[in-house]
Symmetry: D3
């Protein structure tokens, strides 16, 4: 495992890309955040509906769910719209479920009451890490939506048990790297995504050997990068929400 | 036909909403324009492909086509994604064809050679007039895509025969109004869209009596508002493109 | 604008094709009219249902809606069935909505009570102007369906506020022409459809520059042809219904 | 098995409904026949294409295939269009394949050369027996299409090995009946369709016990009615084609 | 009609393939039978639901329905999954309806009460006659499901009026044969399926001339083979169910 | 983390369920293995096609891909067929891609030449761990398909770089457990799947906190269980293939 190669954009192996959260990016959504992780830009809109899906009615619990989509020209070459194809790809469905699960893992659904929050993550520009940026941004949008419900008196307090953020890590040319951009991602031998709470616990761990199966030592190195990266993201979320 | 009622946002009956064009809004598309007409915000991305659809191969002509979509929470209440429904609504298909026809009407397809430009109009925020804003913004994005091809030496000159813009007009409480916002649009008795070239010729005329059929005099009054509005938009397009 | 060229079928520029209405063409529909405009033949069947769509229940108002389809071999070369393709084309959906809107514009939905009339327009043979013939014929079929409800005592009187008819006009070789057949339509530089009430008011105006954008003068000339053509059609509808 | 009950429309148990063939019913199809069997009316259009489906290219053989559809209001109550549902019902597909197989069974595909004839059977009005009327009428339309190809010199002679017709039979109130109308069909205990050539051979035999399983004796009685009915239809086809 | 040719697998013309029924093949279904007819192997699972489809509620009658599918590699060459294609073929729908109708023909739906039994016939290996094997096996699975309901006290007795089995017959090289395997089936000039009750009455008769129309004598010979084959199958069903 | 609770079926926390591989389970597939892991039974059929998908032609490399499906009544209560729904669920697509990736990770695609092997994993009975059993069984079926190609002289040697197996682990009542059955899986707080090669390297790591986010210590304990379980499965695969 070499450690001295320079990254495409001059970052250290364990360095995140610059991150920003623009709250209230659009005017109608109850929470609306444009999250930028380097050149990856995702608009996360949280919509509150004062009811739950039919299968949950009468249980007194809330629901948080997510949808994900890339604008056709968010990428280097244009891709076909899923609406034009008439169906969602497996990748899209997988990401949608991941975002929803990650948010629910830190939400006290009982404390929400019979409310649904639908998070829409629309990728305006993609440079790697769109699913992890979506989770990190969606948490902030969901916070804002909850805060609005507290302000309106619908909720007593923000029904979060913890915060949540996500990051990609990978092995490129034998070296473990944090927060891959598109160029790194397309060369990675191993690709992992971690979803980790503000208190450092794992919500999701997903690792795939793209080229070569990887060793226990490599798994452990990637795990540590993921923990470090998500800890930094958790800090930035708190700052963006002016909670510190 | 009364003429003295005040508009919801204080505008004169024949006054456009504030309009702006942000060029190079995203980094990968060959032309990328965020057009804002009041609170309506549409991202128009032009993608160049160096080939034409199969049915046109070998004819030496180019093609310009468009797709249109609204983000689920671009509106007051969230709407379901067409990708999730598995099909495009009739409204979406109608708008897509309208945008494509409007751009082709001012493009010299022969001069383009065997190139396709695909325009994606994605509505980030909707406050009425999204289809007309899409056309007005798409013209600027297409101009930028053509300019890039001239710069690269693929085209000798910008293959436009004219410019094109579009505006909605309508009759609200008996009064003909220019550039309806959502609130006005939902109360309009008559609703018309005009697509007009920079030299004042009609590309499309679409009028619908929502409540009451309308008279020849009303048709003529709306026609004149449309001509005036599009003339102003043509000016602003030229300014945005620094052609004046 | 030249005015002397002879039309393909010897008609004057402002002359309609021969039109006929065969009422009670099939035996089950509450209104069943085969409308022939020259070689264009459309079967318009009106079906009465004594309920309204779910979103309208309890409002005390009726609903009129339409579907449109072309038999695969109604045209010169066979086209694929939309049922086989598994979806309606954008063109079909656009026409269906146009027919429905046109009929509702002259119907007193309140006076109907909670009834739905579904109009099916099936093109048996197509020689241009199928959507306008559909509207013109559908009005007669709807009248017959309403008359049957009056006879049965379900309605007190025919709930029409006005009659409605539609016609296509266009510019061919620089000359404005009324009621284009297929051959003319495929050569037209400008193509317009007008839906106009018996009292001469506009329900829909749709104009498209197929080749060249058109001037205000041309728009006005086409508008006048449309008014004249629909006035004649309104007469013929009255005759067919033996109301004169 | 009783034998004395009167039929709804006064026919004898072994009597066909009045049948007529209107050739050249529409003007574009190479063969166009409106077949009426009592109140059942089916438009059979044959379209010639001078090529075969991809899987048959280069084999020197032709192809005959069929599609079937009912107009929404061909029946007592309106049914939904299959194009609107987005898929063909199993019933429609079953009938389409039956019509195609029946026509191919009497066609010398080799003698056709690499031609396709597509038969469209569109039911304008339905009173039972629409699939059998479709086959009987389609034979006449296909004959006309072939005759046109002979006239144009594309074919040397009509490539039929035999003629083909079809009829429904059934057991109603214990009595075997020929050519059921809708009312009889909906009360039938057993329902059979026979497709039989002009020379009295079977192409298809389809029998279903709707209420009670049936005996060998009943099967044989129905078989004899089918043979008699198809023999009469074969006569009428020859007359309609002026071959006698 | 020759009678001396040897069959591919050495059977007599009127000889069935070896048949076996493995009951309780899987552990969750209320009835689960692997039926093997020579190399054709179909898993028939019967699932009991204690309600009926919406259109039957409150009528006090039960319902039996079936689904049919072939594993992609049940055949010599792999076929595409219908789930991947996104729709059921016409063949699949036709077979599903046939299985359901056949079982309902011998079931006393009234005696069932408001229960549904869903039969799933999944072909693990196909060597001709999969639809007939499905019916023959499904009867046994349905019997076991009913027996379980009797044991649980939900039903008083097995609500069968008769038993049912099915077999294919055909004409190969001019000779009528019973129970065709794949190789025979693909060479057959005539192909028939019979569904016959334990008491020798017909539920379904389906015959198709694949190559040459067939005579009354041939039809009668095939009918007799079908009757004989189904009588033997009925015996074996009774044995498998230990009812003899 | 408690360690003393008894498992539902009496196993030790780190004990696999009994596993068996029935090779040549069906007769047509080039590799056909019924893998049983306790009560989970999956039929893995490998089909060889002597060509690659269009996007890979001419590259001299092979392809391995997989499909996955559950029989409707493989589970405690019947689920609807995906073929009937008309689309694959996100879960199915996710599993299909996982199986394909896992097999490709140990296959020398270059050494395969332009061949495709399609693996079909059909779950006959499901008691937890169907996706991991599919991978473990598919490896054996793929081995048999490759062996057949070596025997036929199409391949020089088996193009595997390593073997591959998969196992689920989880935390139930605070205790890390190996190889969860359905009952355990539905109660698990954390659920992980490991795909690991015969030489102990990771191909896929997927962990999800179903109830509570999990700590680094828990992650490490689950990782170790996964490594141990897959090592045992690799042994059993070798035995089944008679390679030891």
């Amino acid at each position: 495992m070499s450690t001295d190669k320079e990254r495409f954009d001059g970052r250290q192996p364990n360095q995140l890309r610059p991150i920003s959260f623009q709250r209230q990016f659009t005017r109608y959504a109850e929470g609306s955040v444009l999250v930028c992780c380097g050149e990856t830009k995702v608009l996360c809109n949280a919509s509150v509906e004062e009811r739950v899906p039919p299968f949950m009615r009468g249980e007194g619990r809330g629901w948080v769910t997510a949808e994900y989509s890339m604008l056709p020209r968010s990428t280097h070459t244009r891709s076909m719209r899923e609406a034009a194809k008439g169906k969602l790809s497996g990748r899209t469905q997988e990401i949608q479920r991941l975002i929803g699960r990650s948010l629910r893992a830190v939400t006290d659904l009982k404390a929400m009451g019979e409310l649904t929050v639908q998070i829409d993550c629309d990728v305006l520009q993609a440079d790697g890490g769109t699913r992890t940026a979506s989770i990190t941004g969606a948490y902030v949008a969901l916070y804002d939506a909850f805060a609005g419900l507290v302000e309106k008196g619908v909720l007593k307090e923000i029904p979060f048990k913890d915060s949540v953020a996500a990051i990609s890590v990978g092995i490129v040319d034998g070296q473990p790297l944090l927060d891959l951009n598109y160029e790194e991602d397309s060369k990675a031998e191993v690709d992992m995504n971690f979803v980790i709470t503000g208190s450092g616990k794992f919500v999701e761990v997903q690792g795939t050997a793209e080229e070569e199966p990887f060793s226990v030592e490599e798994l452990d190195a990637l795990r540590d990068l993921g923990l470090q990266g998500c800890a930094q993201l958790a800090e930035m979320q708190q700052e963006a929400l002016e909670l510190k």
